[in-house]
């Protein structure tokens, strides 16, 4: 039975037959079937990376296999969400070594995108903390990969968008925490220049990210709030919090009920949002202790906030530019501001060094922006692509729904190697997605 599915950006929407498995032998049967497919986690990538005419959902393959609460090792099936992992590990004094801005993703999806968090500059991406994983190949053979075992396949799978096989089991290291709270510092920056300097001043903070208002021009161009954090120690929290330092946050979720009509999200609402967010933080600097949830997952509180962008959906545009390409950052932000194409969310982060085959992060500035789908948008983004390439940058495949193949080639120097590995392990393009067809990673038949 085919149904309509889409990922987080609600663009594109396709017809797909979604199948699922609870046990390994059921996955085996699904893979033996000749029909091409792609693995799908919780559909939190924005675009078409986990869409295909046939998708194999991992969400029911979600069991915890082992947890060593002394050494901090966690082993689980690939379809478990970070949310469920946190519920197990936080009360025992452990945390995810790396987490993206939402906890509603699966560990399989995290690895296939090699996700980064606010701590990339100190801890790298998720694959840096993986001890080993199991994967089922297109041939339905099971392989165990680690940085030393089948290392090439390991590398091509981390950030490889599910094209090498289906990850089934992941074992990774956790991070020790004394409390479930975060010692947060928020600092206001009047413009981009000041923000970049602040990033530098506070580079020793484990967690850092900035919210930018991209619509401000002139002296306030790049006006922003830098958000910094550290896991709070027992000594840093108050007596009340000390009585139950590893408490899980109490969940009060708001559900965004319907798709908003497109006109709601015009330039004014974006401006208003940015203004409100900025005004809320009137003081130059705020220091406080908060639960990990609003710190890491501010958007998760509003379930289905993606509906804010209306039926047509939106795309997220996330690029990284090398540190020496600050001019490029300014140029791109200027283009966006000139165009008046509102972005509800503009998030800037500085990546640390990373060597990898196909993962997105590399040392430099990464900016993520949302653009509601409207006429002329795709052409405009093609224009931005040229700027990103000009400054030696690249785009994040996990957020992509529209780039052209040459954009990928231009951004990823090891792309040919990646392609040859796909050819070896997935020779007939049995594992393929709408994205991999579009980007010519799998040959269209």
């Amino acid at each position: 039975m085919k149904t309509k599915i889409a990922n987080w950006g609600n663009y594109p929407v396709i017809e797909s037959k979604e199948e699922r498995f609870v046990f390994a032998d059921q996955l085996d049967t699904l893979i033996k079937d000749q029909q091409p497919f792609i693995a799908r986690g919780n559909g939190r990538c924005y675009g078409d990376a986990s869409l295909s005419a046939r998708t194999i959902s991992t969400l029911k393959f979600d069991k915890v296999l082992s947890f060593n609460a002394d050494a901090g090792f966690f082993e689980c099936q690939s379809g478990i969400t970070l949310d469920q992992i946190l519920a197990v590990i936080v009360p025992k004094g452990w945390f995810l070594p790396v987490t993206p801005g939402t906890k509603f993703i699966t560990i399989g999806g995290a690895l296939a995108s090699d996700v980064h968090g606010k701590n990339h500059h100190v801890d790298g991406s998720i694959s840096n903390h993986v001890i080993e994983f199991d994967m089922v190949l297109a041939s339905d053979e099971v392989v165990t990969c680690s940085p030393v075992n089948n290392s090439e396949l390991f590398e091509a799978t981390c950030g490889g968008m599910g094209l090498t096989g289906v990850i089934t089991r992941v074992k990774f290291r956790l991070k020790k925490i004394e409390t479930s709270l975060i010692r947060q510092k928020q600092v206001k920056a009047a413009n981009l220049q000041e923000l970049i300097e602040l990033f530098d001043t506070y580079k020793d903070y484990t967690y850092s990210v900035a919210w930018i208002d991209c619509l401000k021009k002139g002296a306030h161009f790049g006006r922003s709030i830098l958000i910094l954090g550290e896991h709070a120690t027992i000594a840093e929290v108050n007596e009340n919090q000390r009585s139950n330092p590893l408490a899980l946050p109490v969940n009060k979720q708001i559900v965004f009920p319907i798709n908003m009509p497109g006109w709601v999200l015009n330039k004014f609402t974006v401006k208003a949002f940015n203004f409100l967010y900025y005004a809320k933080n009137l003081k130059k600097e705020i220091n406080n202790i908060v639960s990990y949830e609003p710190f890491f997952y501010p958007l998760d509180k509003v379930l289905h906030w993606n509906r804010l962008y209306g039926k047509k959906g939106f795309v997220q545009y996330q690029f990284v530019l090398p540190l020496n390409a600050r001019q490029g950052l300014v140029e791109i932000m200027n283009r966006i501001s000139d165009e008046g194409l509102g972005s509800f969310l503009a998030v800037l982060k500085v990546f640390g060094k990373q060597e990898s085959m196909i993962s997105f992060p590399k040392e430099g500035y990464t900016l993520a922006l949302d653009f509601p789908i409207r006429k002329g948008l795709l052409d405009f983004l093609d224009e931005l692509d040229e700027l990103v390439l000009k400054y030696n940058g690249r785009l994040y495949m996990s957020k992509d729904a529209r780039m052209k193949p040459q954009m990928l080639t231009g951004g990823y120097p090891e792309l040919e190697k990646f392609k040859s590995i796909i050819k070896r392990y997935n020779p007939d393009g049995k594992i393929r997605s709408v994205q991999s067809d579009r980007l010519l990673l799998t040959e269209i038949k």
Binding site: M1, E19, K60, V64, L65
Partner: protein
């Protein structure tokens, strides 16, 4: 802590019920035909909920193993929940006796065999709960559910009788009649969304009904009325209908 035995623990509903009871701090005994499939479910429950969980091989149609299966459980469960069942394409079953027999043997004979044993133990101890999962399909025989429905009808009658038999010995028997549920069994059927429940919903409803000692429950409540209407259609009319 009390212990719950779950017969048919690899089914979607079985897993959901195991998690629900474990979250309420019951120890769990998982039983299923393919015991190797229980390994991951067991570790998952132990680690997530910090309760004791054991895995046991159990085959509904190997009736003669049932006594020793139950005897080997240590501790004995305080609550026994039977969820297992078989559903084949009705047309195929009509043509092939083996499939017909299998459905009857799993859905009726197998349940009776194991629940007789549990019931004897509980009445002897003057304490215990038995929960049997039947189906709304057992409320009236229909062409489209000929064998499945009749096996569930027999099961519902058995559970009614068992409740009656065990009541004086302080043993509670609860009959659960789910309607449409999203499971592997039904994933290729276009089910009406409003009438269909998820395994987690089923588990929640069963748990609260168990707590308030209900006798027969429908999941969801309106199935009771849907089936009431279907039961009351006069036979001369009903036999002409495509149901």
């Amino acid at each position: 802590m009390e212990t719950v035995l779950i017969l048919g623990a690899t089914s979607d509903i079985g897993i959901a019920i195991a998690k629900k009871f474990a979250a309420q701090k019951y120890n769990i005994q998982l039983a299923a035909r393919k015991a190797e499939q229980l390994v991951a479910i067991k570790s998952d429950i132990e680690i997530r909920y910090n309760v004791e969980c054991t895995a046991h091989e159990f085959d509904a149609i190997h009736y003669h193993t049932h006594t020793s299966f139950f005897e080997n459980l240590n501790p004995k469960p305080d609550i026994t929940i039977s969820i297992f069942g078989a559903m084949y394409e009705e047309d195929n079953a009509f043509d092939e006796w083996d499939l017909t027999q299998m459905m009857i043997n799993v859905n009726y004979t197998g349940v009776v065999s194991i629940l007789n044993i549990a019931a004897k133990f509980y009445t002897g101890r003057k304490k215990g709960t038995i929960i049997g999962i039947s189906s709304v399909a057992g409320d009236r025989g229909r062409a489209s559910k000929l064998i499945y429905g009749s096996s569930k009808a027999a099961l519902s009658a058995y559970l009614d009788g068992l409740r009656n038999k065990c009541f004086k010995d302080n043993v509670h028997v609860m009959t659960v009649k789910p309607g449409f549920v999203y499971t592997r069994m039904t994933e290729n059927l276009p089910l009406p969304k409003a009438l269909t429940s998820t395994p987690d919903e089923v588990a929640d409803i069963i748990y609260s009904a168990f707590k308030s000692k209900k006798n027969t429950i429908y999941i969801k409540w309106f199935w009771r009325y849907i089936m009431l209407i279907i039961k009351n259609i006069p036979e001369f009319q009903f036999k002409k209908m495509k149901l």
